[in-house]
């Protein structure tokens, strides 16, 4: 098991992503809502660098009570990690693929110790 240093916890602002090297691949570490999340930088589609793209809120259709389309909005509570190769999207909170919930980015545990953030690689 490897414990890889990411950053001092206080150095990472809300919404920030950092990439850490891990012997031939990278891991993306995100801070959101005071928590840290870590995923392998490899998309489940064609292997793109999933953690190098934008992070953007989930898009939601707004449908009226009469079933009419009223517009769209962003759901800021559910940010998506977007692979820059083909825009496959993953829920930042779980790693689930937005288009197919049976697929998940490889997730790693986070350890916070003495004010620092580490990724745990089995």
């Amino acid at each position: 098991m490897n414990r890889i240093y990411v950053a001092r916890s206080a150095e990472m602002r809300e919404g920030e992503r950092r990439l850490v090297d891990c012997d031939g691949f990278e891991i993306g570490v995100y801070r959101f809502d005071g928590r840290f999340f870590a995923y392998k930088n490899q998309c489940l589609h064609q292997g793109g660098p999933a953690c190098e793209g934008i992070t953007i809120a989930r898009v939601v259709d707004v449908i009226g009570a009469d079933s009419t389309f009223l517009g769209q909005r962003f759901d800021e509570s559910d940010p998506h990690i977007v692979c820059p190769w083909h825009a496959w999207e993953y829920r930042l909170l779980t790693g689930e693929c937005a288009g197919d919930g049976s697929l998940r980015l490889q997730r790693y545990d986070i350890e916070e110790r003495d004010g620092s953030v580490y990724v745990i690689v089995p």
């Binding site: 919404g15 031939g24 691949f25 292997g47 793209g53 934008i54 820059p84 190769w85």
Partner: protein, 410 residues
């Protein structure tokens, strides 16, 4: 929430396509692409980035002046395209900012960089905005710009880099000009065939085109139909989202021309002419085979030139693979491969750098293909169709030599 931007989109970021494609290079190493040849049957560059160079090749001085004065705005504009998903796919934006060695041939360096990252030995290069040029109402514009582009491409790119080849644009709104293009450019270095952009409203079975097809058949050079979509098309306007206009439009325009090609008996008139259908994926082919066969058996007398089922002619055609339909349908994909004789007729293509590009792994990782079938689709089929008489790229050969030397040293 203020999220981190995409890597490379930060101000003053140092853009290098090789870094953007590092995961592709890892795939190439892990799958041993150095052991066999990979040919990309359909890749692109954005010729609008070098309009000034291309316009200088325009022969009509007044049209050249028009092109330069308008900086290309004399061309038709699409009514819309947001294929980059509102910044979710930043590739096009980033590649425009890539720093290249001073004094280098930009188009060649850019292309070779992504080819090497993916493990591609030879790439067939096509333009991007010009895929819609066949819609321009001014025939003279199509002829002038396509001739300028073909002159620029052959002189500035193909003549300088043997790993880049192309099938040149045919201005089909002017059949005589198209024939002249074949005769004038057919023997140029790196010209492996000719290409018709599928989004156009000319009937390509008309007699005026037979001399073009005859010339290509006699030269044993393939004819490609490169599809695109046209959101301004009345049928496409029924789709309110780009996902619909793209998913339907690309197969649609190839289906129309393929249907006309077969039902007008052109495979019987040009039995040795190799056809390649590009950038529509492959899932539409079984559909069209079944539809045409079904109709043919009832309406045989309407198409008396045909001596076989439409699907039998189609099985002798070639198809570029991208964008390969790989999501959750391995069984359907395997059936499609079987129906189209993929082992000899399918040509892997990347479509790089466009938003729905494919890597060689879309073929290499398929569980139902033999190693030889993978190698055929990834390279050998194109090598045969394009008559490429060279093999592995210099970087692959160098890595192989280094590997052999390291083994010997042990």
């Amino acid at each position: 929430m203020n999220f981190s931007p995409a890597i490379g989109t930060e101000p003053n970021a140092d853009i290098d396509s090789r870094t953007m494609l590092k995961n592709a290079a890892r795939q190439a190493a892990a799958r041993g692409y150095d052991d066999f040849m990979i040919v990309d049957a359909d890749s692109h560059h954005h010729e609008s980035d070098v309009w000034s160079e291309i316009f200088a090749y325009m022969e009509d001085p007044v049209h050249r002046h028009l092109a330069e004065a308008t900086k290309g705005r004399f061309l038709m504009r699409s009514i819309g395209d947001y294929s980059a998903m509102s910044g979710r796919i930043p590739r096009r934006h980033l590649l425009r900012k890539e720093k290249l060695p001073p004094g280098s041939n930009g188009e060649v360096v850019r292309t070779i960089r992504w080819m090497d990252a993916m493990g591609v030995d030879v790439a067939c290069l096509f333009p991007t905005p010009m895929l819609g040029l066949g819609l321009h109402p001014n025939v003279h514009t199509e002829v002038q710009l396509s001739r300028a582009y073909n002159r620029w491409l052959t002189e500035r790119v193909l003549a300088e880099e043997p790993r880049i080849v192309s099938m040149l644009y045919l201005p089909m709104n002017d059949p005589a000009a198209a024939l002249k293009m074949v005769e004038e450019f057919g023997d140029k270095k790196g010209v492996v065939g000719f290409m018709i952009t599928s989004t156009r409203y000319k009937a390509l079975y008309e007699n005026a085109y037979m001399a073009v097809y005859r010339a290509l058949e006699e030269r044993n050079q393939p004819l490609a139909f490169h599809s695109a979509t046209n959101w301004a098309d009345q049928s496409m306007c029924l789709t309110n989202l780009w996902i619909g206009a793209h998913a339907l439009g690309f197969p649609w325009f190839n289906m129309v021309h393929l249907t006309n090609w077969v039902t007008n008996g052109l495979p019987e008139r040009f039995p040795r002419l190799k056809l390649i259908w590009i950038e529509a994926g492959i899932s539409w082919i079984p559909f069209l085979m079944q539809r045409l066969d079904q109709h043919y058996m009832i309406r045989t007398s309407e198409v008396p030139s045909l001596k076989r089922l439409p699907s039998e002619y189609m099985r002798e055609m070639y198809f570029a693979s991208q964008p390969l339909e790989t999501v959750r349908n391995t069984e359907a994909l395997e059936s499609t491969f079987h129906m189209i004789n993929a082992e000899t007729q399918l040509l892997w293509s990347s479509d790089f750098p466009h938003w729905d590009m494919d890597l060689p792994s879309v073929i290499y990782d398929l569980p139902f293909l033999s190693e030889q079938a993978k190698r055929n689709i990834l390279g050998e089929n194109s090598r045969r169709v394009f008559k490429l008489d060279y093999g592995l790229s210099a970087p692959k050969l160098a890595r192989r030599r280094a590997g052999e030397a390291a083994t010997a040293a042990k």
